[in-house]
């Protein structure tokens, strides 16, 4: 059984039905730990030591966040900047998170269709997520396909619950399955 760490970043979680549904679906799972970054570091003063110690203990990491301006909210970027330290996460001696699995779980207001070469946003989500992918790669982690909850502006209650269940299934699967398939280009369609 793998241990899963969900690094959750939402500056106004109290207003996000979508993220509430996602978090609620996984919050009582065994071996799944959620770190609510905006609650832990309201002043952006991320405790590097503590975060590294936590990170080290888990096998699968989830960056769960809304997709703001084709990226993550600033506190998650701050977390990446401070915690994935040279000499610890990468570079000489930076071996402590090698071999872990990581992926983004994002929510977007727009539907999946707008994230395509023909759509309004002109690029696919996996293209937008390249910086995360490369960050994982540099640290020797396995970057897994993203999880996406789209169209949150108009989503119906049953659809949202269905999506939340999917998320829960994904997390359970990552926790319990013998093997996690790693296919580098799987998500690039």
């Amino acid at each position: 059984m793998r241990k899963i760490l969900v690094l959750f970043a939402h500056p106004k979680y109290e207003h996000s039905d979508a993220n509430h549904a996602l978090i609620q679906s996984i919050e009582n799972l065994e071996n799944v730990q959620i770190r609510d970054l905006y609650e832990l570091y309201p002043d952006f003063n991320v405790n590097k030591q503590e975060e590294q110690e936590q990170l080290f203990q888990y096998d699968v990491i989830v960056w769960q966040h809304p997709f703001y301006w084709y990226s993550c909210p600033p506190l998650l970027k701050q977390w990446i900047d401070l915690v994935l330290e040279y000499g610890w996460a990468y570079g000489p001696g930076g071996v402590y998170i090698q071999g872990k699995y990581i992926f983004n779980a994002i929510t977007t207001g727009g539907s999946t269709e707008v994230y395509s070469h023909k759509g309004r946003n002109r690029y696919t989500i996996s293209e937008f997520l390249r910086p995360f992918e490369q960050t994982a790669k540099l640290c020797g982690m396995h970057y897994l396909p993203y999880f996406h909850l789209g169209g949150t502006h108009r989503i119906s209650e049953p659809d949202l619950l269905k999506k939340a269940d999917e998320y829960r299934e994904l997390i359970i699967q990552l926790r319990d399955s013998e093997l996690i398939p790693i296919e580098p280009n799987l998500q690039n369609h």
Partner: protein, 625 residues
């Protein structure tokens, strides 16, 4: 001079003219009153034509001393008095006994009657509570080690008045009953000794009982009428009543009221009593000192100039030396010891009472009494002057000397600091520690010598002294510094500092701690840009935690707190600009309150401030609309 009104005008005018001048010259109010008295006395302008008149006034005004002791008692809670017991007994008792013994001894050695010497010695051992307390308060030194010791000595002297007054009649008996009628002294005179003793204990017991169980209900009952003057009247009744009772049994009225004050110190009426009686005390004491000034017999002083001056000097030197030894023994630093010793070196106002009593008892002759009074008044006049000399000329040198070595060393190592921090109490020390933790050393000024010692040991660069003094700022390197921080909690001192900096060090960035909104106004009006209200951050931080405990999101609360603080600071700046125009100011205040209310109600709606649309996707959900 005839007529009560005319007399009143003369006294008040003299006081109004002399006291402010004396204060301006740094001599203190007591000396101002003494000078006013001398000025209107028989030897200068002659408004008071003879000493008898002065004596009468003095006798009436002695009541100011009685009131003062009541007020001193009010300030002293019994627990605190108990805490000071070692100070009172060791320092105070030593001072009284040794001084009395030495003065009497010198007198006897000069061949004077031993009874006279003992009476004079005991009287002269006492110092002037009024002068010393006043000047300690003026210099803000009540809390310093020297100030505390002075207070202990004064308390012991106040207590010593009882045994002294009890002892004097015995000396009269020993003086073979020269005086048949010893004057107006109580109803107890012709009673046998045991009844007298019983009555005395009864009277003290009565004061204690009344203080415990009588005055509280009385004041409570009176205060329910909501008539302020009635409360004042009750306060006067308490003091006058006790004084009367004490005189009845032949005890010191001052001591009785002191006792009542101590007992009432724990009562809820303490502050009301203080504020009601304070003006009476001030006026009566002023009158008392003026009367003292007017009774100095200058004919005598001139005729017996040598003996008067030599006795005066002798007394001051003797008292100072004894106190210096005691101070040394108690490990006071030299500068502090000097002001402690010299400060207490005068003969106190109680001695006027004891002289009068001793005169009645026939221990002193009129000539003796005149001489002693002249000496006493002269010591009272001289010590404030000597203190001025000490403070202005000698102390700065001493402080420089004692701090000189370290300072030189500091200069050699790292030159002057860019930051000057004034005041190293709770506020300043936190600030200083924070700066130091980040490698910024500040030059620190503090008025508490113990604190200075401690900080020097910790390697801080500290100067002792009142940071509002120009020379001190100079020596702290105000010319080279960039930032001056005032962390003192005294608004007046802060304002003084701002003025000084504006005048002499305009290049300094001044950052000031303000106690509240009103102080902040004043400082901002003087052009200070960096004003820090001491409660603002803490109270908002506490509010943040409250909201979080109630389930609000941490980051949201953090942002709201920040906004609230900025809003509050902004509102203050707006208000400052309109403060000069009262009408506009009031309407502005109203507007600000309205704004604050709308802000508050906006926050209450859980959607927080109406303007906060950050990360708000509601508007995006229906873009067509």
């Amino acid at each position: 001079m005839d007529g009560f009104l005319l007399n009143a005008i003369i006294y008040i005018l003299a006081a109004i003219i002399c006291v402010p001048i004396a204060k301006k010259l740094g001599m203190g109010a007591v000396l101002g009153y003494l000078l006013a008295g001398i000025l209107i006395g028989p030897y200068a302008l002659g408004f008071i034509s003879n000493e008898g008149e002065g004596h009468d006034i003095m006798h009436n005004a002695e009541f100011g001393v009685v009131m003062m002791l009541f007020l001193i008692g009010l300030e002293l809670e019994p627990q605190n008095l108990w805490k000071m017991k070692s100070l009172i007994i060791t320092v105070g008792l030593t001072q009284v006994l040794v001084t009395a013994a030495l003065i009497s001894g010198v007198g006897i050695a000069l061949g004077l009657d031993w009874r006279l010497c003992l009476a004079a010695g005991l009287s002269m051992a006492l110092s002037s509570t009024a002068i010393v307390i006043q000047s300690l308060k003026e210099k803000n030194e009540m809390g310093s080690p020297g100030g505390k010791m002075s207070f202990g000595v004064l308390l012991m002297q106040d207590i010593a008045v009882i045994p002294i007054l009890a002892l004097l009649p015995l000396l009269a008996v020993a003086a073979a009953g020269v005086q048949g009628d010893s004057g107006s002294h109580g109803i107890l005179e012709n009673q046998p000794g045991w009844i007298q003793t019983l009555m005395i204990f009864g009277a003290i017991g009565m004061v204690v009982l009344l203080g415990r169980f009588g005055f509280g209900p009385l004041l409570n009952w009176v205060s329910k009428t909501k008539l302020r003057e009635l409360f004042t009247a009750s306060a006067l009744l308490i003091v006058v009543g006790i004084a009367f009772l004490m005189e009845l049994v032949g005890l010191s009225p001052a001591l009785g009221t002191f006792l009542a004050g101590v007992i009432l110190a724990n009562s809820p009426y303490k502050h009301a009593l203080e504020s009601d009686l304070d003006p009476f005390k001030g006026l009566l004491l002023g009158l008392f000192f003026m009367a003292v000034g007017a009774t100095i017999n200058f004919t005598l002083v001139v005729n017996e100039a040598t003996s008067v001056i030599s006795i005066t000097l002798g007394i001051i030197i003797l008292k100072t030396l004894i106190l210096l030894v005691i101070g040394k023994f108690k490990k006071l630093r030299l500068s502090e010891n000097l002001s402690f010793a010299l400060g207490l070196s005068q003969v106190g106002e109680f001695s006027f009472v004891t002289y009068a009593f001793a005169l009645q008892l026939g221990i002193l002759t009129q000539a003796n009494s005149d001489l002693l009074m002249a000496v006493t008044a002269l010591t009272m006049t001289a010590t404030p002057l000597l203190m001025v000399v000490l403070d202005k000329l000698i102390q700065p040198k001493l402080i420089k000397e004692s701090l000189g070595n370290n300072r030189k060393m500091d200069e050699n190592i790292d030159g002057k600091n860019k930051v000057i921090l004034i005041g190293f109490g709770h506020f300043g020390s936190t600030l200083g520690r924070f700066m130091r933790a980040n490698g910024v050393e500040a030059t620190i000024l503090d008025a508490d010598p113990d604190q200075v010692d401690f900080l020097r040991k910790m390697g801080f660069k500290v100067f002792y002294g009142d940071g509002t003094r120009l020379e001190l700022l100079h020596s702290a390197g105000a010319e080279q510094a960039e930032i001056l921080i005032s962390a003192i909690d005294n608004t007046e001192h802060s304002l003084k500092l701002v003025k000084l900096c504006k005048e002499h060090f305009p290049h300094l960035e001044v950052m000031i701690r303000a106690k509240n909104r009103y102080d902040a106004y004043e400082m901002m009006e003087m052009g200070v840009k960096n004003v820090y209200r001491e409660h603002l951050d803490t109270s908002i931080r506490m509010g943040e935690d409250v909201l979080r405990k109630l389930g609000f999101r941490a980051h949201t609360v953090h942002r709201l707190a920040k906004q609230f603080k900025e809003y509050d600071e902004e509102a203050l700046k707006v208000l400052v600009e309109y403060k000069g125009n009262q009408d506009e100011y009031i309407s502005k205040v109203k507007k600000q309150i309205e704004m604050q209310e709308s802000l508050l109600s906006g926050e209450q709606m859980r959607k927080f401030s109406m303007n906060d649309h950050a990360w708000d996707s509601d508007v995006m959900k229906d873009p067509q609309k």
